[in-house]
Symmetry: C2
Subunit: 264 residues, 2 copies
Amino acid sequence: MSADHGGPRAAAPPPPLTPVPDVPRPTAAEEARTLMASTNVATLATLSDDGSPWASLVTFATLTGGAPVLFVSTLAEHGRNLQRDGRSSIVVAQPSPSGDPLAAGRVTLAGTAHRPEGAEADAARAAYLTGVDEADMFISFSDFSLYVIAVERVRWVGGYGRMDSATPADYAAAEPDPVGDARGAIAHLNADHADALLAMAQALGGHPDATAARCTGADRYGLDLSVDTPRGRAVTRVGFAEPVTTRDGLRSAAVELTRRARSS
Amino acid sequence: MSADHGGPRAAAPPPPLTPVPDVPRPTAAEEARTLMASTNVATLATLSDDGSPWASLVTFATLTGGAPVLFVSTLAEHGRNLQRDGRSSIVVAQPSPSGDPLAAGRVTLAGTAHRPEGAEADAARAAYLTGVDEADMFISFSDFSLYVIAVERVRWVGGYGRMDSATPADYAAAEPDPVGDARGAIAHLNADHADALLAMAQALGGHPDATAARCTGADRYGLDLSVDTPRGRAVTRVGFAEPVTTRDGLRSAAVELTRRARSS
C-alpha cells in the first residue's frame, strides 16, 4: 500500500515485545464509501469542448451502491460538459482536516455520467433532496439535470503512504463506516480514559512496557494507538471483538476492549 | 453577471428611497486572486491516459502573477498525467464556508502546466516552500516535480447568481484583497457597532427608514449591508473613501465611513 519516494526516511518505531493479533483495517473500498458519506461537497472534473479538463465545485449525494448523484445546470460549464461527454471524475476530501491537508483522507472516483431514467431517476432525485439541504431551492429549475456517475475507477488516499485502489464492485458492496467522524469519540477516550488505553497497549497491543497511550484513530474494526515506551514511541492497533455496526456501538466496543485488556 | 434559471424567483427587496452612489465591487479577476490567496488546498483536474478527466487533491502556491505552482509525484496519477499532458484545471473554494457550500465563492483556472526552468523554477520552488508548510518534508523527494500552470481561462463564481469570467491578463494584474478573510471583522462590526451600521444604511445606503442594519460582506471597496426597513429587508452597499490597501486598513476605513454617515 505504501510507496517509496526515494527520500529521507524516519527511524523505525520500536517493535512490539509480545505477539499482536492481526487486526483488520477498513479496506480501500470501505474508506472510499466512508469519505463519500462524510460530506456533500466535491470537486468535479469534466471535459471542456476542446478535450481539456475542467474542475468545478459541486454538491452531491450517493445512490445505495455509492454512485454519485449530481444536479447541475447547463448555465454552468460543467453542466454543458456533461451534456456533451459524460466522462467525469470527482474527488471528495475529508471535511475540516486539522493540520496538513495531504495527511487527510480523500478519494477519487472516475467514470461516466448519465441522465438517470425511471426508477433510477426517482432514486437519484430522492437521494439528492435528502443529501443536499438546499436542493429544494433549485430542484425545479428547468436548466438543471440529474446525473449519476457509473463508477469505473476508485482511488483512495488515506494520507502519506496510505493509499490503494478498489474495484467498482468492491466499492459498491462496501458500507460506509458506521463510526463516521470519530474525532469526538477519540478526544473523549484521550481525555477521560487514558488508563484504559494504556491497558490496551500493554495487554493487547504488544507493548507491556508502555507508559502512556493515546488513541489516534477509530473505525468499525478497532483503535489505532500511539504508545510511549522506554524504547521510544510506537504505534499499534487493537481490535474490537466484533465490527461495530452502529454509531453508538463504538462505546460498548471500547468498553469490551478495556475489560479484555484488564483481564488479560 | 447573473443568469436566469427559469424557476421561481424571490420577491424583490424594497428599493432605496434616496440616491445611492455607485460603489465599486471587486472584479472577477480580483475575486479570483483573493480566493487563490485564501488557501493552499485545491482540486486539480488532469487527463488520464485515455483522455478522461481525473480529479485529485493538491496543495499549491502562486507566483507573483497568480499562476498556480504545484509539486506532484509521478507515484500519483495526477503527476503521471501532467508529465504526459500539461492540460489542467484547478478549482479553489473558499475555505470553511458556513452553511450552503454553493453560496460560497470558488474559482476555476484552466491552462497548461509546464516544468519551470531557471529563474521561474527558483521562484516556483520558493513560492511553494513559503505557501505550503509541509513542503520541506518532501521538497527533496526524487519523484516529485514542480509545475507552473500558465492560466488560459478564469471563471469565478461568488455564489448564486454572482459569477463572471476574467481574462488571463486581468487575473495576472489583479491583486488579492488586502482585507482577506473578513469574517472576524464582520462579526465585530455586527456585535459592537450596530449603531454605526444603521447610520451608514440610513445616510449613505438609501434607506433613511432603516431600523437595523447588519454587515454581510467586507472587501477593499466597501461593506455589504442587510437592512431592515418597515418596507421589508433590503440589501445595500456603502463605499470606502479610498480602497483599503492593507489588512489593518479596514478598521480606519470603517471609522471614516461611520463619521461620514453621522455627519450627513
